[in-house]
């Protein structure tokens, strides 16, 4: 038995290393090839930073990035506010059944939804643009946010609420001082998730964006359509590095906050 334990002690880190290699090799290879001077194919030709130059001088990329960020931030905040309001105000007995309905947002194929939505917008003569994009991404976000926030809400001990009421807090004060802080991790997590989903979405964006609104995935897809686009590799590397930096900053702030408490 001893031998088996030690065998698993070696095997497990090995498997973990392999999986991380699996996760990272493609990304790293792509990063390397973003410096490849060969615009076609995957043979290495020589080192260049030309693609980064092209990337930073392209106004289209930055417009698309700006649109994507605006839409992602807006839909994340709207979805989280609505989801929180729903979870806090619906009766538990209704909510425990109702929240299943929001899984539909994830399960319905996006293309079906997209075509349906396009018809809807047309029917009400709503012109496509950044608002329709936000509306649709918010819908998608609700599918992630409501189950997540609800799960956290359910796991909050009801005694905290009772204790607060008992200590003289009205319902509103209880929500503000007790429920809300306890929900915070779930709110942050789901806001991040909705942000990513929105930032990542292609199909719904393509159909529900108006003529003057192009998001980053739309741009990426149009670049990938034609051929290998080293500029996309460069863009991916830039995005990857910056998003990693944001997460790192975020989590280190979190850590410091926790550390400060002790």
């Amino acid at each position: 038995m001893k031998a088996q334990w030690s065998r698993s002690a070696v095997m497990m880190p090995l498997v973990v290393v392999c999986v991380y290699l699996f996760l990272y090799t493609p990304i790293l290879v792509m990063a390397v090839f973003s410096f490849n001077s060969n615009p076609l194919g995957y043979q290495w030709q020589g080192f260049t930073t030309a693609w980064y130059g092209e990337l930073f001088s392209s106004s289209e990329v930055w417009d698309a990035l700006k649109n994507s960020l605006v839409v992602a931030v807006a839909s994340a905040s709207i979805a989280i506010s609505m989801a929180t309001a729903l979870v806090l105000s619906l009766k538990r007995s209704i909510l425990s059944r109702a929240f299943f309905a929001f899984y539909a947002n994830l399960a319905v194929p996006e293309i079906v939804l997209a075509v349906g939505l396009l018809g809807l917008f047309f029917f009400f003569s709503i012109s496509l643009g950044i608002t329709t994009l936000i509306a649709v991404h918010t819908l998608l976000g609700l599918g992630y946010a409501i189950p997540l926030i609800y799960a956290r809400f359910e796991s909050i001990d009801r005694r905290f609420v009772e204790a607060s009421l008992d200590l003289g807090a009205t319902r509103g004060q209880t929500v503000r001082y007790v429920v809300f802080p306890l929900l915070m991790p779930a709110l942050l997590a789901s806001a991040l998730l909705v942000f990513i989903v929105s930032f990542d979405d292609f199909i719904l964006s393509f159909f529900c964006a108006g003529g003057s609104t192009q998001t980053l995935p739309m741009y990426i897809f149009s670049m990938l359509r034609a051929d290998v686009a080293p500029i996309i590799s460069a863009l991916s590397v830039v995005l990857l590095v910056s998003s990693s930096a944001v997460i790192l900053l975020f989590s280190s702030l979190q850590m410091r906050k926790l550390g400060g408490m002790s």
Binding site: F160, E162, S164, L165, D166, G168, P181, M261, S262
Partner: protein
Amino acid sequence: MRSIRLEGVSKSFHGEEILENLSLTIPSGKFFALLGPSGSGKTTILRLIAGLEQADQGRIFLGDQDITLLPPYERRINTVFQHYALFPHMNVFDNVAYGLKLHGLPAAQIKQKVLRILEVVHLGRHVNKPIQQLSGGQQQRVALARAIVNEPDVILLDEPLAALDLKLRERMLVELIDLQDEFQTTFVYVTHDQSEALTVADQMAIMNYDGEIEQIGTPKQIYEFPTSSFVAHFVGTTNIFEGILRFGDNQARIEIEGLGFFEVAIPQEKKWLCNGCVLLMGLRPEKIEISKNVMEGFANHLEGNVESIVYHGRSTQYNVRVENGLLIQVFEQNEEHFPREEIDYEDTVHLYWQKENVTLLER
């Protein structure tokens, strides 16, 4: 510091009746214990008083004020919850200051009050600790401080010591009594542990499984003079015999099948006693003298075989099988002022008790 009065309160959950037409008065400024087995509805009473549940029927008064429909935050009543329910996202100070902040007190005053109360509960050194870093006893004290600092009329304690170990529990009990003495607030203490209730209470109520109150009185009244077999059983340990009461000339005796006649004292207030009534006789184990030798001066006597011995430290419990097959428990203090006779398994022993030490209970 006001009294609480429940009048004809009923409460049911999902069609199951927990309390039915219950009336109870909790005197003001007293340490009142509500003792009952789990599931007897004592926590429900507490929650009704706190306003966390709403009564189906009946009224609840705080002093003269009808608080039946008042939401919890408008009642000057605070609760110490069973598992404390301390807010995990706040530190000790913020937890205690929570109620004061809600009432909009100036910060300086809040700080002064909180620090003082934390000093009282011996947490002066842990003011800024996160809740998670406190031990069970410390959390308990924070919960107490959080309730007391608001200077409510009533403090409700819902099995507050259940999660603590024995030593800590004993110490906390003493501290609770001291706190109550100092603040003179009405304490309502809910527990299923009779020794806790007997220790802390000025007055106590015993509840049975059906959510009814069996008896109200001081701990001594309850312990020494239980009015029902439920109370006798639930509070402390009791040997119960069933027998027939026989009035003789100037004395009363009880006839127990297979054991013979035993003298009993007839208290004046028990009007229901009658000649030939079938009733129960309760006898506390510590009221029985046990010896291998024959002794004089006792009204009653029995003989039996020691079947088992349980050593408790300060006392020893003997389980003695008597003639009709009944097993009788006897406690003997291990005083050891003088060398004592050794009683061992299988020894034949004599049991003696005085007639004043039995309680007569309705069957």
